[in-house]
């Protein structure tokens, strides 16, 4: 599990997660992710290199969304693979956190 900052502007942070978001993966990146998204900015989380999403991964995403929401900021998930997209739909996480097919779509969601 790895984390890479793809973009950092005044209004948003775009971060890519890579690998399996299972128990070990969450252990490895959760603190860093919270630190990286700690500012008063929107967050785009690129999931295109995430190969597995466990319930603890979902819990982490919900926590991040809540943390941002408390600061009046939004979280958008970007470009999940088909199986990750399926996991997001089965858990109805897409009802709480918007999911976009690509970065442009995500920016549009932020501005809507």
């Amino acid at each position: 599990m790895d984390l890479e900052i793809l973009e950092e502007s005044e209004s948003l942070t775009r971060v890519a997660l890579k690998g399996r978001l299972d128990t070990a993966g969450v252990d490895r990146i959760e603190t860093r992710l919270n630190a990286v998204l700690g500012g008063r900015k929107h967050a785009l989380l690129d999931l295109s290199d995430v190969t597995f999403l466990s319930s603890l991964g979902i819990r982490m995403l919900i926590s991040v969304a809540k943390m941002l929401d408390r600061r009046g900021q939004k979280l958008v998930l970007v470009a999940p693979r088909p199986l990750i997209d399926q996991a997001l739909r089965h858990s109805s996480l897409d009802e709480i956190i918007p999911v976009a097919a690509d970065v442009d779509g995500a920016r549009m969601l932020l501005n809507s």
């Binding site: 128990t23 979902i58 819990r59 919900i62 399926q86 996480l93 009802e95």
Partner: protein
């Protein structure tokens, strides 16, 4: 250091990492299917692998049959990879040749993580006591599950195999009066002790119908009340998914709702999937909300309803490929042609066979329900 310096306070520091006589080298399980287990590292080489005959058997599809060996040279522990597919890692670094595994170092093999620890006999006894406590807790959880119903207007069967001694899943059903049956399956995020404790609390609230001002014949109301009672912020940031249905044999109708839960499946008498039952609501606890939706389905004679958690299908096969719901549906349909259509235990065995292991890394929970053919409509 002796007290001969004449200074009243003497504090002894030791930078030596060798084991004093009473301490022995152990691999303790930090993460994996067997929690809090301690395995001694002795002069005899310890082989870790997926092969059940290995000295330390790891039922993990990411682990090779003979993955790596751990051995003692003098008072130092070494690890050597045995040509594994996915590699052996010491503190995050992939190793091939014999590599020292220092005390407190982490050894990663597939989806298992171990730590090298020096344990005293008392420590080992504590580990054993903890394992015993977990076993008692597991029995307590299993005792809460209802017996399968082999006869009567509604027949039920289930298979419940927690991943790591204690799981976050629970399933149950109980009579609501008027012949109706409430049936439910819930999945608390994660697994292990914390998830299992939380799962028991939620499960009992549903099973014993102790939620305030709740009509337990109304699935949407049950979910709304659960969501009021179990918000993440107040429960250690944990959430759960649930399927809750009310089955009325007289009308063959199933009212149901789900929250963050994968679809339930209705298999027809012809062994084909007739419908997938899902009502999209956010997982319980994820956000405050008062209104939950629900739907209704009809069970035809010969129909069989399957409710399960994501652990049944979010698996990795022997080729390392992630599987999804479609693959699980295929396994389910394949068992339908047999004598016992969709026998939960057989479905479990088939899923295990796909992963090439005899124990899954997530909880496997599958409930099968069918109406007696003579039930009126």
């Amino acid at each position: 250091m002796s007290g001969a310096s004449g200074v009243g306070k003497t504090v002894q520091f030791s930078t030596r990492r060798s084991a004093p006589p009473q301490l022995a080298h152990y691999l303790t399980v930090v993460q994996g299917v067997t929690i809090e287990r301690a395995v001694p590292v002795t002069a005899e080489t310890l082989i870790l692998g997926r092969d059940p005959s290995r000295a330390f058997h790891l039922p993990d599809s990411d682990v090779s049959r003979s993955h790596c060996e751990v051995f003692l040279v003098g008072d130092d522990v070494y690890v050597r990879d045995l040509g594994s597919t996915n590699g052996t890692f010491v503190d995050g670094v992939r190793v091939a040749q014999a590599t020292p595994l220092r005390v407190s170092s982490r050894l990663e093999v597939g989806r298992h993580t171990f730590r090298h620890e020096l344990l005293s006999p008392e420590d080992v006894a504590r580990h054993q006591q903890f394992a015993k406590d977990l076993e008692l807790a597991r029995r307590h959880v299993e005792a809460l599950l209802p017996a399968p119903r082999a006869s009567g207007p509604v027949r039920t069967d289930w298979c419940f195999v927690p991943s790591s001694v204690l799981g976050g899943d629970a399933l149950g059903y109980h009579d609501l009066g008027g012949g109706r049956l409430a049936l439910y399956l819930l999945d608390v995020c994660g697994h292990g002790v914390a998830s299992a404790m939380y799962s028991s609390v939620v499960f009992n609230a549903v099973r014993c119908q102790t939620l305030p001002d709740t009509d337990f014949g109304d699935p949407a109301a049950v979910l709304a009340r659960l969501n009021d009672a179990f918000q993440m912020d107040a429960h250690n940031d944990m959430y759960f998914s649930i399927f809750y249905g009310v089955l009325d044999p007289a009308s063959r109708s199933l009212r149901y709702s789900s929250a963050g839960h994968p679809p339930a499946i209705v298999l027809g008498a012809d062994g084909r999937i007739r419908s997938r039952l899902v009502r999209k609501n956010p997982p319980i606890g994820a956000m405050p909300r008062r209104v939950f939706g629900q739907d209704e389905a009809r069970l035809e004679p010969g129909d069989r309803l399957f409710v399960f958690s994501d652990g049944a299908f979010e698996i990795r096969d022997t080729e390392g490929r992630e599987r999804g719901l479609e693959d699980f549906e295929r396994e389910l349909v394949a068992t339908a042609s047999g004598k016992l259509p969709g026998d939960p235990r057989r479905v479990y065995e088939r899923v295990c066979a796909v992963t090439g292991t005899d124990l899954l890394l997530d909880d496997f929970t599958l409930l099968a329900v069918e109406l007696d053919a003579s039930a009126s409509a």
